[in-house]
């Protein structure tokens, strides 16, 4: 079961790698006083960050609007934040979503567009396949709405700010804690 801690920075923040290192130290309980070498960050081929010296530490990052968020857990985790802003929602849905998601959104008036997007992106971040690895090949929505789990992974929407949608994905989520970054 994944206990997930999400740290946020915004609107002013250090660069993404500094945010990652600070949050990893806060989550893992380590110190940065000695240079924080154990929190050295690398990225997989599709951009997912990882800590080569701490293989049990999993993380996922997202940024949207004024905020940067990092999710940390001892299990693989994916996170996505989306600010709600005008866009070609119908065109994006047709172009990048699974036909089942597109059908649901068209029927529902695209009200859940950002929930679908955040859910899908959190899934591909959790698996590490990235957004180009088959974003349209799976559906997070059925005829009646967004599914609670997909491909054996649980989806959990987390309240954040009024005009943002935040979704967390892991195999099984036991808790989600949201904290300001240090």
């Amino acid at each position: 079961m994944a206990e997930v801690t999400i740290y946020w920075y915004g609107p002013r923040r250090p660069d993404s790698n500094q945010c990652l290192v600070r949050c990893a130290a806060a989550f893992w309980g380590g110190s940065l006083a000695d240079g924080g070498d154990c929190f050295e960050v690398e990225r997989e081929a599709r951009g997912k960050p990882f800590f080569p010296l701490l293989p049990q530490l999993h993380c996922s990052v997202t940024h949207s609007g004024d905020y940067w968020l990092g999710a940390f857990s001892r299990e693989p985790v994916g996170i996505d934040l989306q600010i709600h802003k005008p866009g070609r929602l119908a065109a994006l849905s047709r172009r990048f979503f699974h036909p089942e998601e597109d059908r649901y959104l068209e029927k529902a008036g695209y009200e859940d567009f950002y929930r679908v997007w955040a859910a899908k992106e959190s899934v591909v971040k959790c698996t590490g396949e990235g957004i180009d690895g088959g974003f349209s090949h799976f559906s997070v929505a059925g005829p009646e709405g967004i599914l609670p789990a997909v491909r054996g992974l649980q989806l959990q929407f987390v309240p954040f700010r009024g005009d943002y949608t935040l979704c967390v994905c892991a195999e099984k989520i036991s808790s989600v804690t949201v904290l300001p970054g240090e």
Binding site: H63, S64, A91, L92, R95, W117, E121, I131, D132, S136
Partner: protein, 75 residues
Amino acid sequence: MLETIRKIIFEVTGKTEVTFDTDFVRDLELNSFDVMNIVCAFEEYFDTTIPTRDVWQLHQVRDVIEYARQRGIEG
């Protein structure tokens, strides 16, 4: 082509600092949604389709210009 790309990026994101060397993620801090939104706008403007697998190879404005040039898309 640079001017057309500037217009599309401004229309979608409100960002104005766009040169040949601009990196969409590093310099403009765009996320996946922003990039996909720009792709849709680009496809509408030029009445073309960019395969999704190609989208993530286009990191900088100069990559888009070169990509368009190779496919005979003129802005």
